[in-house]
Subunit: 194 residues, 2 copies
């Protein structure tokens, strides 16, 4: 209970008594307590100030004299690590990877369900003559291939195709001892359709 009150205060910066009452009413559920506070019209800490908590860096890479450009945000936990040379080298490698290997998503979970369904549908339709059991296996394999092509973390590293981007990320996390997240990226190719 005390722990929940503390977390609620950290999240909302609302007064002690308000937080106590809200937590009691929400039976210890912090999210519910936030709702209760909001419904009462109690002013919560501006969402923005509570948002800007992450460290890291925004890195860019311009390829072929401006024909392709990449912007990527990579987060870590402390400003100390953000200035670390290996972290910076990793960020540069990732920007270059995105330029060369044109991923569409950071990770598997970011592929929209509709895109996956469409992909499965098209694959199935193009292999109608195959027996059903074989078909499912083939499609699963092709979907893995699809992930490898479209998801940054699943892609083979352009400088060393034997390892995947997620492997480099994981060994960097292990080495530095801080969580590191590739958060978002943009890749522009001159004249492409949006």
């Amino acid at each position: 209970m005390l722990d929940a009150i503390k977390r609620l205060r950290e999240k909302t910066k609302a007064g002690m008594m308000d937080c106590k009452k809200a937590i009691k009413e929400a039976a210890g559920n912090v999210e519910k307590a936030i709702e209760i506070l909001r419904k009462r019209g109690i002013k919560l800490a501006s969402e923005k100030s509570s948002r800007v908590t992450k460290q890291g860096c925004v890195e860019s890479y311009i390829h072929m004299n401006g024909k392709i450009g990449v912007l990527v945000e990579i987060n870590c936990e402390t400003d100390f690590v953000a200035r670390n040379e290996e972290f910076r080298k990793f960020s540069k490698d990732i920007a270059m990877q995105i330029a060369a290997a044109r991923p569409l998503y950071v990770k598997k979970e970011n592929v929209p369900e509709g895109v996956l369904e469409k992909e499965r549908e098209i694959l199935a339709a193009s292999m109608k003559d195959k027996p059903k059991e074989a078909l499912e296996k083939i499609i699963d394999g092709r979907i893995e291939k699809f992930y490898e092509e479209t998801c940054l973390l699943e892609q083979p590293f352009i400088k060393d195709p034997k390892i995947k981007i997620k492997d480099i990320l994981h060994s960097l996390i292990a080495k530095i001892g801080e969580n590191i997240v590739i958060r978002r990226f943009s890749r522009y190719q001159l004249g492409e359709e949006q």
Copy 2:
């Protein structure tokens, strides 16, 4: 129908007969016809080659050692102009402008109707005591101000606030004699919410 077939061929580089059949099956819908072709396993031209039609450059700008990053695509008509020094200087200025003045849209027309309505609603609610005729004038003025803050082309240039970005763009177009378009941009600020 003929027009749709032509567009399908341009987009896919698939054979004439295949395109004819697919368009017929799709009742003239080009996107649907592309799907039909893919389902039949017909190899389409790589998307890349059909997309890259415009010239220009993609420029980036990284501010404060990676706390803010900008990516911007600026188009012109010929590769000759894309390599022009003034065009490049303009691109760099625009990237810096976006980093410093944080626009949300390229131009007025890009502001979604819902955003404008919301803005008007909030302004009206905050000035309920004003007489109606005065109110409308004030709101129009405030909306202009809103454009100046959020639309890149309406913003005062950071290096010379007496002129607007669109003025610099127009004089560059007049000087170079080619149409120039600021097409799209991304601005990442470390840790901000998306």
